[in-house]
Symmetry: D2
Subunit: 118 residues, 4 copies
């Protein structure tokens, strides 16, 4: 199945899921940003004591847990975009273009962004 059909399919499923349960009332954009941040922290939690290098190869348990959390993050992201009318793919495409200007290769190569420099 192409990811295109799947992303649109996911959007429809997320919305149907929420409507069947009468959850729209809880899904203000404000609340959805909280739910999304909570899921992002659950993904973070999997790796909080794991060494950066060790994290390059996930254990089975880390993989399963990560799959659940990336899914939750995406589902809330899609729901937030639904409730705000934001086109997620278009926003991401625009942001990559913007990032290319902010971080031209010749200046950014090999250097971490948002690092605190002396």
């Amino acid at each position: 199945m192409s990811s295109g059909d799947s992303l649109q399919g996911l959007i429809e499923q997320v919305n149907a899921f929420a409507d069947e349960r009468d959850w729209r009332q809880f899904h203000s954009p404000k609340n959805l940003t909280m739910a999304l941040a909570v899921e992002a922290a659950e993904l973070l939690e999997i790796f909080q004591w794991v060494d950066s290098n060790d994290s390059l190869v996930l254990t089975d348990a880390q993989r399963v847990a990560s799959e659940h959390e990336v899914a939750d993050i995406l589902l809330y992201l899609l729901r937030f975009c639904e409730m705000t009318g934001i086109d997620l793919i278009a926003a991401a495409q625009d942001k990559i273009k913007l990032n290319a200007q902010k971080y031209p290769v010749e200046l950014a190569k090999g250097k971490a962004t948002r690092s605190i420099d002396l």
Copy 2:
């Protein structure tokens, strides 16, 4: 442009962007979960003092800021899945099925999940 081509297109762009800048060295799964959580908090920040009801209609400034942040969240999510070999769409589809079992309509209707009940 179908979102399918676009999601795959985004994945390719994100990876090319990071490779051109020799950023793979910074992109351990652990580090990427941190970057993602930072972006999720930047989305949160837009609404921290905004009333839940007021957040139902975004101001222009809130919309532009939200577009940047949802884009950043998606891009780091795609990069995390790239570095861990996780199929994001499949994970999301599986999670919706799991959620349907955890929150059957007859029990969940009208009730917020993860609420603290007396």
Copy 3:
């Protein structure tokens, strides 16, 4: 018990707790910022579907859960300051002074900081 003795007492207890369990090895500043962010999100989670106005009066369950999370946040904050040699109280006193300059009463009165203005 004065909170002064208690804060110093807490610092000593947190350090003893970690040393008894040989946890220093996990407590790099980087890792501690992750653990702290995870706890901050657990506090967030208690209120994610709760209306802002309703949150003004905590239910018993919300209170108990909040007590656990504010405790966890403080304990990790103290541990981070221990591992980095940061004087938390002094840093907070300095920040209030800085904030007073950034947000003079005549300009800030009645206006939320970090709000997205049109």
Copy 4:
């Protein structure tokens, strides 16, 4: 100055600061948990691309940035406790006792908590 006087002094300063600026209206517990999570993520951001081992010795810039963020976290934590009537020190003392039961030395020694085990 003893940290006891200072913690109580900080609590009074934070409350006076907010009252002078008529900010109580924005400081629902829900909103304060969002502001606190935002600050926790700003602390996280300082270290997102920094290697765990390298983070053991902060650069001057990392130190200054960290001081600002730990201060912000503590100030919002104190404000949240003020608005909810939670005794932060007592909550932390209770949590350490609870943690000692959850993580007895003989079982927890040398093992990270919240790690994902195979």
